[in-house]
Amino acid sequence: MTDLTDIGIAGIRDGVRDGSFKAREVADAFIVKVSQAKALNAFLVETPEHAIAAATAADTAREAGETLKPLAGVPIGMKDLFCTKGVTTTAASHILEGFTPTYESTVSQNLWDAGAGMLGKLNMDQFAMGSSNETSAFGNVISPWKRNDGGNASLAPGGSSGGSSSAVAARLCPGATGTDTGGSIRQPAAFTGISGIKPTYGRCSRWGTIAFASSLDQAGPMARDVRDCAILLEAMAGFDAKDGTSLQLDVPKWEAGLSGNLNGLRVGIPKEYRVDGMPEEIESLWQQGIAWMKDAGATIVEVSLPHTKYALPAYYIIAPAEASSNLARYDGVRYGIRDLPTGAGLQDMYAATRADGFGPEVKRRIMIGTYVLSAGFYDAYYTQAQKVRTLIARDFERAWEMCDVLLTPTAPSAAFALGEKSADPIAMYLNDVFTVPSSLAGLPAMSVPGGLDKQGLPLGLQIIGKPLDEQGVLNAGLAIEQRAGFTARPEAWW
């Protein structure tokens, strides 16, 4: 009999629809997997009752002969950045410990409205700040992957959506939500051999998603293949009047539009993405990706994105600046923890609560953000960074005159071992070097698995598209997927 946890979102959806199995069977299978995978620490909260309720609704609807919803019978994992009504939501931070929203984020509500169920809330880097999941206040997620060197090093699942990547890669859920501010969907997807897409900024509502950097934050799906990403994204996206930056556009039928035929497509290869010290294996995977694109009918053009090298510094000014302000609301007054030392006044309460509640990386970014916005430094840092952001967006606009999508590696390395980079924030930040520019420009971008490195670890390829051209990105991703034949999966050790 088929293992229901192996068949992916489209398979589950179709199987429930045609009666091959019951949604309840699917939910139960995943619930068991989740309960057996504590060692991965991917879930902060398990919500089997939610998944079962959705499954039962799907089965009941089918028995009644009703048309099933797009995600009927599909249980998913929900990154803990999304507020979920009645279910603890912490952004993996101690400061929000015990916080239970009375409201449902738009993205999660959209998914429930589409019939999906929730297996639980997924661990992540605290407030989505991190590239390894080591900043979670509740212990880091561990990647299901191991190096083939005989060692037993625990590897980073990437970040910040590391619970999502680990859970999908380990078949604990067929798909999960992620959020991407500077690469937080794409880098963990690459590290764990799954697919993930960050849509155009404004496609998915930010309402009810705990903010990191408002001008960059964007939700997106993480799943085992391109089709599953398209299905999930269709359910997640859509205009929301409660988010002033939401795009007032209909959601395209991305799944129906999928095609791996790239005839006539111009694929740009940005020369600035060849960075010093990048492993040879990544360069050769990139070349392999180019070959696959050609094979799918695309033509290859070399393009230049001259301001790429300024993207990372600009990002690490803009994102912390916004974060320093967005996180001011965690003050111990209305929700989350409150530290009130004896005899303390208001300022003491703020200081004690925030000192205790935020982890070191969050504090670092609040400090950076506060500094770059402060009087006398604002123009030198923040204003300058905004100018760079404009120039980076212009780089892409010029590239679109020559090509339709861009192909790059997703990350400059395969998954690293936990602890390997956590002492050096800059080394950690460098992991975002390929994902940050498209975030600054608000462009759709996705990572698809391309192959394994010598240590048996997945490597990802990134496709960046024009604004609103998720279809072009998905199709290029599909072309790679069809040619890469990536079937590797981690062996269960957990």
Binding site: P101, R206, A328, L346, S374
Partner: protein
Amino acid sequence: MSDYRIQGDTGEWEVVVGLEVHAQVTSNAKLFSGAATAFGAEPNTQVSLVDAAMPGMLPVPNRECIRQAVRTGMAIEAQINKWSRFDRKNYFYADLPQGYQISQLYHPIVGEGAIDISLDEKNPDATGKRIGVERIHVEQDAGKLMHDQHPTQSYVDLNRSGVALMEIVSKPDLASPAETGAYLRKLRSILRYVGSCDGNMEEGSMRADVNVSVRKPGDELGTRTETKNVNSVRFVMAVVEQEAKRQVEVLEAGGKIQQETRLYDPDRNETRSMRSKEDAHDYRYFPDPDLLPLVLDDAFLAECRASLPELPDAKRARYEALGIAPYQATVLTAEVEAARWFDALLGAGVKPAAAANWTTSELFGALNRTGRDIENSPVSPAQAAELLGLIADGTLSGSLAKQVFEVMLETGDGAAKVVEDRGLKQTSDTGAIEAVIAEVMAANADKVADYRGGKDKLFGFFVGQTMKAMGGKANPAVVNEVLKGALGESVAS
């Protein structure tokens, strides 16, 4: 130019004042949330998830608040910026759930405009001064801390959190307490005409931050202090006076003025230091990334302009053109409700000058006496028009009209009905008047002789006696005419 000067030991000092007025925008909902804004509601009953800054909540601009700010800008002939943007002003305080106030520092919605004030109501045109307005921007109000609810803790009421304010920033064009008061009253009047703020200072709908500095005439601007949150015209004027005096004393004693924030204590009529420049917050303003720039299209602006009412200055000019005295025109147009009432009266076809006279003296006098405002006037414009009509056609004399009006105030009846019911109709029956005058002259033969001997002033006495004998109902014009004839008969000889 104001001739207001402070006499110091070292000579005369000028005062330079600028006002930042925070005016609560009249709107059913807050600036960035759908929560209600009614004054006086139970604490924390008008708070949305956005106002409480729950995790993941986002602001969405309320179109009506934007519209009101634009209309206000248009009313002071200001530049309307079709592209503006919201900025965050970051600081921690318990009444500020987000940890930042959404405001507009860099790109306000309204640019430079002006407000014309006059320093003498009796002579408004000759004593006018144009006060520049630097900008108007919209921003969120904060909540309110309550320190009297618990022995050791403070409570916070977030009802006001997120309510839309307009900050109207004047140029430092004000040079005296009187000018400052006139500016604030005029601004309040315009806001109430436009309907963008109810102007209710007692309820906190309008508050002023008062920037004051002093200098020797002709000198550069001095260092200013800012006295925060002053909530009446009288207090604002007192702040200017007291703060200027204090600054002169400090400077003449060889001291320096610290750029600082001060508070006004109305009980002691003095300002007190609240926060020095060194303690000033670094607000770390930056564009709010949750909000797109605010872009106004031509259709929206056209709608805003078309919805503006006739404003006080235009109305006053129109009244003056109708022959109404400048002072009365000023009084009638100062408050929008009075102007509305008077416009309704004019609309009923009365003679403007007579109507203005009657309204400013009789009606306003009666309202003052009875402690009512014009919105609750017991006499409607239609009823007043009827009364004025009876005066104009000679049915009622001035004094009869007063009597009729008093009855109208008491009973709410129409003028014609009162005249009918009480028999207060004026008589112009020359025969009857002649008969009474003959009686009065016969009874006062000595005074007739004195009058004829040259004591002209006695004429008033005869008028009074005649009116008294006729119960006040005689037409005064006829009485005058007949009396002149009767008394003058022998003089001519």
